[in-house]
């Protein structure tokens, strides 16, 4: 009987979670919206820091070892933030619409390797942190793998451009 109670409680919780996730203005919608906004802000911060490193690599911005190191350190720190609350179930583009997010449901699929991709970014950002202050060529050598780690995740898990 104890067993039966557990089952019923489990089913009840599942039902609540299920309902909350699909309701339009429950507290969970708010939490999901906040998570989407937060993760998009994190992407903006990635881009803001990469833009300085890329600008130097490209030759648009004069190389400055201290500024490059600071941007790379930011990037490495950002890539290691705990993201578990940024990606709740039901926050994909099918559930929320393309206007709100380009995150594909594949992120949450059973065979998803999104965690591995996130690790690849952290590795590339850490390598950049070590390289950025060591001269322009050293920075240039680290930016290719960094771009690759961005692209390899976007290739599979972000809706293709319109």
């Amino acid at each position: 009987m104890k067993y039966g109670f557990g089952l019923i409680a489990g089913a009840a919780i599942a039902a609540v979670v299920g309902t909350a996730a699909i309701s339009d203005n429950g507290p969970d919608t708010k939490a999901i919206n906040a998570a989407v906004k937060a993760r998009q802000s994190q992407m903006t911060l990635y881009a803001f820091n990469i833009s300085l490193l890329g600008g130097m690599a490209k030759g648009d911005v004069e190389y400055d070892a201290a500024a490059a190191s600071a941007a790379a350190a930011n990037l490495a720190a950002l890539s290691k933030l705990d993201q578990s609350r940024l990606w709740p179930q039901g926050s994909d583009n099918v559930a929320l619409g393309d206007e709100m997010t380009e995150a594909l449901p594949a992120i949450w699929a059973a065979d998803s390797d999104v965690g591995k991709k996130a690790m690849a970014l952290a590795d590339a950002a850490t390598a950049m942190e070590a390289a950025a202050g060591g001269g322009l060529d050293s920075l240039r050598g680290a930016i290719g793998p960094l771009g690759k780690s961005c692209g390899s995740c976007h290739e599979t898990y972000r809706k293709a451009d319109d």
């Binding site: 881009a47 771009g147 690759k148 961005c150 692209g151 976007h154 290739e155 293709a160 451009d161 319109d162």
Partner: protein, 292 residues
Amino acid sequence: MRSFLKVVVILGLAVAGALWVLSRPNTLPADAMNGLVGDPERGETVFWAGGCASCHAAPKAEGEEKLVLSGGYRIDSPFGTFLAPNISPGPAGIGAWSAQDLANALIAGVSPQGQHLYPALPYTTYTHMRTQDVADLKAYMDTLPVSDVASLPHELSFPFNIRRGLGLWKRINLTEEWTLTQASTPEIERGRYLVEALGHCAECHTPRDITGGLDRSRWMQGAPNPSGKGKIPAIDPANLTWSAGDIAYYLETGFTPEYDSAGGQMAKVVAGMAHLDPDDRAAIAAYLKALP
């Protein structure tokens, strides 16, 4: 009445006969590859510029795995779904092909068995390839790992499953002419070769007409995604306002001028283009800037 029927039958046979002749697969001259020695190192550039791995590597392959050309990528189209075959240099792939066979596939769109290939293999682009580049590509591909994964059949319905009909399609859509007729500098000429003969950018970035052929009057002006969802962006000078340096840098790293990064199929394209010489990426940018 009987003579009328006779006329109809004769006319019908004449039309069928004409279509049969017009749809015949045309191969290259048998000596097309004679005397050409492939250089695998040069072939590697052809391989990455041609984007072979984008479709022929296993769909989730990364890094070195992209060199295992086991196939399996699905290309959705209004005519059905094409499945990229295994083209690794083994029995399940194209290990038995000669350089002549590869040249016929890429330049003429004809298989070693003498059948038309579907233009999901972008031979409307590769038809511009120099035979020396095919020889080099063959030499490079022969050095790649063998995969024993079996190729899967295309998922096409009638009448698109009849290969013979492609002979007529080719008469309308396969041309040796360049789309950018005037290449005013050697750099633009190199860019034209990289884009129009190898990179097959137009296959996605140019809209198609009712036959499924490229509408060359709207070259690179963007197109609906053949998979049905979304749109492939326009990259002609009127629409792509990035500098040539920005374009080359994007092809190297995937970073846009706003430091967003390429996704979807374009991420695979960038992964290939990143292997090229910086001069070649600059040439592609110069070509795009030179378009009308």
